[in-house]
């Protein structure tokens, strides 16, 4: 196998990269390459121009905002985030998810921005972004704009971005005090994309009751899904069986190996397990 021929561009600034993407026909950006390179090797992607983002300085930072939120540069490597103390402190859900993103070898190259833009329906980091209510920052020829992740994940592998725009950072609000989190997935082999995955965040009030519940599911829709019925069932006096029953309304995609009913079944099983773990980790606000 061999990628189709393309012209390679190696800009050193963001402005230059955006200018290349806006002027060259059929140009695609290349981040960590752990999804783009397979697509090139298999010729699913046939760009005429490839704009490599790896030499652009300053796109891989991790900063803590005054309100405790994390701002993570799009080119931050997954393996760096997995080991980063501020990520562990402020978004342990992401660390738990990262352990299941491919393998260490792929995480050494793969980036958070690449994963969010590739937007595979079963990928871990988009699910974390959905559960954490992340906001992505996109830069284009007319400047930058912020988009709530829920709006960014527009459709199947389709981020809400123009071809000449680049995701530059993602802002992740800090996990609220006392919150209990859990990320679980089921894949046939470790490192494969999940058949179904779940991210749960339970936010307590001052006496330790669930004030806010967030339930996000991956692999069961075109994009990561929040499950409002389950979230409502968990607030106050939590009704776990009603929350799990909310997965019965899911309409997952089918493929040759995995029928829709199995993904739906797994979503319920994983949600039940994740809620037990998240509750055990929850404290008080």
């Amino acid at each position: 196998m061999k990628p189709p021929p393309f012209a390679y561009h190696d800009p050193s600034t963001l402005e230059e990269a955006i200018s290349l993407l806006s002027t060259l026909p059929n140009a695609r950006p290349l981040a960590g390459g752990q999804s783009m390179m397979p697509m090139l090797n298999m010729r699913f992607a046939q760009p005429d121009h490839l704009v490599d983002l790896n030499r652009i300085a300053g796109l891989d930072g991790v900063t803590v905002e005054p309100d405790g939120a994390l701002t993570i540069g799009a080119m931050a490597r997954q393996r760096v985030l997995e080991q980063h103390p501020e990520v562990a402190r402020r978004c342990p859900l992401m660390v738990e998810a990262l352990a299941q993103v491919g393998h260490r070898q792929t995480r050494n190259r793969g980036t958070i921005g690449g994963s969010l833009c590739h937007l595979d329906p079963a990928a871990e980091l988009p699910l974390v972004a959905a559960a954490m209510e992340a906001v992505v920052r996109v830069a284009g020829p007319n400047g930058q704009r912020d988009i709530a992740f829920a709006d960014f994940a527009q459709g199947y592998m389709t981020p809400e971005m123009e071809p000449e725009e680049l995701l530059v950072a993602v802002r992740i609000p800090a996990q609220p005090a006392g919150a209990g989190h859990c990320f679980l997935e089921y894949a046939r082999r470790h490192g494969d994309f999940a058949i179904a995955s779940v991210a749960v965040m339970l936010v307590p009030d001052a006496v330790g009751r669930i004030a806010e519940a967030r339930v996000a599911l991956g692999g069961v829709g075109a994009v990561p899904l929040r499950l409002p019925e389950a979230e409502a069932a968990l607030r106050g006096a939590p009704d776990v069986s009603r929350a799990v029953a909310a997965t019965k309304t899911l309409e997952p995609m089918e493929d040759a190996l995995v029928p829709a009913w199995y993904r739906r079944h797994l979503a319920g099983v994983l949600l039940g397990r994740a809620l037990v773990i998240a509750q055990s980790r929850m404290g008080r606000a």
Partner: protein, 157 residues
Amino acid sequence: MSDVLHRVRMTVNARAATIAVEARRTLAEALREDLGLTGTHLGCEHGVCGACTVLMDGAPVRACLVLAVQAEGAAIRTVEGLAAPDGTLHPLQQAFADHHALQCGYCTPGFLMLAMAMLEENPAMEEAEMVERLSSNLCRCTGYAGILAAVRSVMRR
């Protein structure tokens, strides 16, 4: 435009190497075709099997998922760099032989480089982590028990 050759300077097994490649050349192909280092094997060519694992600036990466042009300035290590100049096998290579960690040998260079990174990063690694790390590469012959035994045998107890 797309058949432009790009000059890439890198260090391969501690020796300077300069090649001229098309942009679409993967690092794995460049090692094999341009530098004659055919120890790095290509299996799936889409990042699933790990046969092409090499060390890039010390970290194991899948060489089929890196473009050769992206290796500009990088230090690459391949299976050819493991044995001593006189041909004496690296202890890890010897352990693979001793523990029957290979049959057909196709996946072996990838596993060796993966295991080298493990050994260098944490020579006192727990078994569970060894299993997790080794799970990133595929072997269709051995059933993995021999590979795990070989790696375990060179780890500091």
